[in-house]
């Protein structure tokens, strides 16, 4: 009744191609942004912002990156963790080489490095696909991990082998380092994620994005219709790794504060792949939903016994979490292979016809 597009006429192409063609969607997204930018910083406590919102946003961005590659271009990758690492390490190097440059520029700029690395490891995708590509991206994962450990230059020859975030200010406010408040870091993360999501949605709607989707749906047909597989695939790898790199840089600089190689291991690649598949392949909204699901589920699961007044020891709880995540993934794949985004679409459709479903 309320969610209905009747009466909203599009009188020119520009309206027809808008990101949010329906008025209610525009209102909803506006409301979302107000909640995210105003209500959460104002009402949320440190734990909520630091342990839930910031990781959720960062992983959303990484999931968008992987979704561009896997969901839109159809190339499976298990190297996301390592590409995030490339972003983090290059950002760290740049902060020590250019201490005076604005940290936001460095964070976004570090994405370029991981884009280049991503393009190099994306080259085999021109000849192979499917599981074969999984193995080449795994090669990227393990090789890059080894580089992060072995090449001392990357972590400034620290005794600990870890990268530590220096304190940086922007307009007199401390943005990174231990003294930065969670709210500041949250707002920075949120702004970057919002802008980059907007950019992603426009790339995907545009010529490049449509070329990716043609490659995904049928590469030979796409080639016949004038899409160059070389450019389409490599650009998908580049953009995808760029997003992953920025997410990795944000993860270290705006969330963890320091990182070792373990923060970029293959488990992260899996987790991000889970986010993409659970959220919905080929859906930006799905990336957010998948990221929310995977990052918030353990926290919520951990809180449930406390709410119910049960006492379960930490280890058993952790094991149960693993089992539940595993089981839920299988359950979702069986019941709704298109992910949470598809559920959302069904919900929207139901709203549209409510209260007269026929």
């Amino acid at each position: 009744m309320f969610y209905r597009e009747a009466g909203q006429f599009k009188t020119n192409y520009k309206d027809d191609q808008a990101v949010f063609p329906i008025l209610q969607d525009r209102l909803a997204i506006g409301l979302f942004l107000i909640v995210a930018f105003v209500a959460i910083p104002y009402f949320g406590n440190d734990f909520f912002i630091n342990s839930m919102m910031i990781p959720f946003l960062i992983f959303s961005l990484a999931a968008i990156g992987l979704n561009i590659l896997t969901g839109y271009t159809g190339q499976i990758s298990l190297g996301t963790g390592a590409f995030m690492g490339v972003g983090a390490y290059s950002c760290y190097k740049m902060t020590s080489i250019f201490p005076d440059v604005n940290i936001i520029i460095l964070i976004v700029g570090s994405g370029c490095f991981s884009a280049v690395i991503g393009m190099i490891f994306g080259l085999p995708s021109l000849r192979i696909k499917g599981f074969y590509l999984v193995v080449t991206t795994l090669a990227a994962q393990f090789f890059l991990e080894w580089c992060f450990i072995t090449i001392g230059w990357l972590y400034n020859y620290n005794d600990s082998g870890a990268i530590e975030v220096p304190q940086r200010e922007m307009f007199g406010i401390i943005v990174t380092g231990a003294s930065a408040t969670p709210v500041t870091r949250y707002l920075v993360v949120l702004s970057i994620v919002v802008v980059m999501t907007w950019v992603a949605s426009n790339i995907i709607r545009g010529r490049i994005g449509r070329a990716w989707m043609m490659i995904r749906d049928m590469d030979i047909a796409a080639e016949l219709m004038g899409v160059r597989p070389l450019q389409a695939k490599i650009s998908a790898f580049a953009v995808s790794s760029f997003y992953a790199g920025v997410a990795g840089a944000m993860m270290v600089f705006l969330w963890l504060g320091a990182a070792e190689v373990e923060s970029f291991d293959v488990n992260h690649s899996f987790l991000i792949l889970f986010m993409v598949v659970l959220g919905g392949l080929g859906s930006l909204l799905g990336s957010f939903m998948g990221a929310a699901f995977i990052t918030l589920l353990p926290i919520v699961l951990g809180a449930i016994p406390g709410i119910l007044g049960l006492h379960i020891n930490a280890a058993a709880l952790e094991h149960v979490k693993f089992m539940i995540i595993g089981a839920l993934i299988i359950f979702f794949l069986i019941m709704e292979p298109h992910g949470l985004a598809r559920l959302w679409a069904i919900g929207k459709q139901k709203l549209r016809v409510w209260p007269f479903p026929y």
């Binding site: 406590n45 005794d159 600990s160 975030v165 918030l296 926290i299 809180a303 930490a314 693993f322």
Partner: protein, 434 residues
């Protein structure tokens, strides 16, 4: 139908997540325990967490807590990953945490810069950043009873006392490739010059820790006189087995104190006879305090330990020792602050003034359990001595006297490392010592 259920459940979960509030109820001494009972390193994490919790629960049951206040130990599962460790830190710091025991060098490194900001000290007991022992530079970080560097210097001192000295010998260093394993390398390279020996490194990647045959082939190629290991988890058992396979003389193979647990050598059994490892706290239950733990906690079924015979294992006692340090820190802090309900900064002062003398150890029912430890504003490691234990095929036997670290060699290097750590952090806050 089920789709609606999922939608509903997701929405509920979101709302539920928002409502997690930090609850600080009545006055207690709140000590979070960042444990890891899961993951590849659970074999080491579980007994430590048990020992830690059991000692605190024993204090609660026997003495009614410390200074009249109950100690609340809340475990948070880190799985030995730095990321989850930080999440645990964020989740628990608001509840009035007194001190953090991260049990992982990776997590410690992440918490060091956070400690001064949140005013909660970090006690990395025998792990973490060695340079953190320099109290002037790291007011909020403690490294009792000894740092990796001083431990390494003790081990080298031991080697120096055997077979006609260390000069001209070749020392192999096999380590887990992580912050933990790489930590002592600068010291090793430095002491190699001063003490006149040669170092060969054998890195073992975490993923490959059960597949070490190439490292040990390299050992066979290089033929070092001694091997020193900085290993953890499944790496230890595999390394000792491989060493036995290539017939490396076992009594020339020395692990650090994280490479000498019962769980490490039980799978090896007889083949590991003669293997040595460092330790800082005695194994076994022949101490009044441990008997109290058995009486008040374990025998009443209040412990998480599954097999009561594992009380007194090397790592169980390690966790218990950590609890002793924390409890002593709390007691000292209460004395200094003149109140029972202390804060994180009181706790810091208490830890800094920690004085675990031989007499005090006897009072606690832990005579001969460990070397005496005395902290100061300058020295946050207490200069603890270590001893070596040897595997006899079934259990660990203590086989050496206390070996003091070579403080004169190590301290200047620690100070240099500390200075390097803060060199790119202009905002870092240090303290001056009288």
């Amino acid at each position: 139908m089920f789709k609606k259920l999922i939608l509903g459940a997701t929405a509920m979960a979101m709302v539920g997540g928002m409502q997690i509030q930090t609850a600080s109820a009545e006055e207690v001494l709140y000590v979070p325990s960042l444990s890891y009972r899961t993951g590849a390193y659970a074999g080491g994490g579980t007994p430590i967490a048990n020992g830690f919790a059991d000692y605190m629960n024993m204090l609660n049951a026997r003495d009614g807590g410390i200074g009249g206040l109950k100690v609340v130990v809340e475990e948070c599962e880190t799985g030995y990953t730095a990321q989850k460790g930080v999440e645990c830190y964020e989740a628990t710091k608001g509840k009035g945490a007194l001190v953090y025991n991260p049990y992982s060098t990776g997590i410690t490194l992440q918490l060091i810069p956070k400690a001064p900001v949140d005013k909660i000290p970090v006690l990395s007991m025998g792990y973490g950043l060695s340079a953190a022992a320099v109290g002037e530079t790291f007011p909020w970080t403690f490294n009792y009873p000894a740092t990796y560097w001083s431990q390494m210097s003790s081990i080298l001192k031991f080697i120096d006392s055997q077979d006609g000295g260390i000069k001209g010998k070749k020392i192999g260093y096999i380590y887990l490739v992580s912050g933990y394993g790489k930590e002592p390398i600068p010291l090793l390279e430095n002491l190699a010059k001063t003490m006149g020996f040669e170092v060969v490194q054998f890195p073992v990647a975490g993923k490959e820790m059960q597949n070490q045959s190439s490292q040990w082939l390299n050992v066979r190629k290089e033929k070092p006189d001694w091997m020193i290991m900085w290993g953890w988890g499944a790496m230890n058992a595999t390394a000792v087995k491989e060493a036995a396979k290539i017939r490396f003389p076992m009594d020339h193979f020395i692990g650090n104190w994280w490479a000498g647990a019962n769980a490490d050598l039980d799978p090896v059994g007889k083949a590991g006879t003669g293997y040595r490892s460092a330790n800082m706290a005695a194994a076994g239950t022949d101490f009044p305090a441990l008997q109290d733990v058995i009486k008040h906690v374990v025998s009443k079924g209040k412990s998480q330990i599954e097999d009561p015979t594992k009380v007194g294992d090397v790592l169980y006692n390690r966790g218990l020792f950590n609890a002793v340090l924390v409890a002593e820190g709390i007691a000292t802090a209460q004395k200094i602050a003149g109140k029972a309900n202390i804060s994180g900064s009181d706790m810091r002062d208490g830890l800094e003034a920690l004085d675990l003398s031989a007499a005090r150890l006897k009072e606690l029912g832990l005579e001969g359990f460990t070397a005496p430890i005395k902290g100061s504003c300058k020295d946050h490691a207490g200069g603890g001595s270590i001893f070596l234990q040897q595997w006899d095929g079934e259990n660990w036997k203590r086989t050496s006297d206390l070996i003091a670290p070579q403080t004169d060699l190590v301290r200047p290097l620690l100070e240099a490392a500390a200075a390097k750590y803060v060199s790119d952090k202009p905002e870092w806050k240090t303290q001056t010592c009288k």
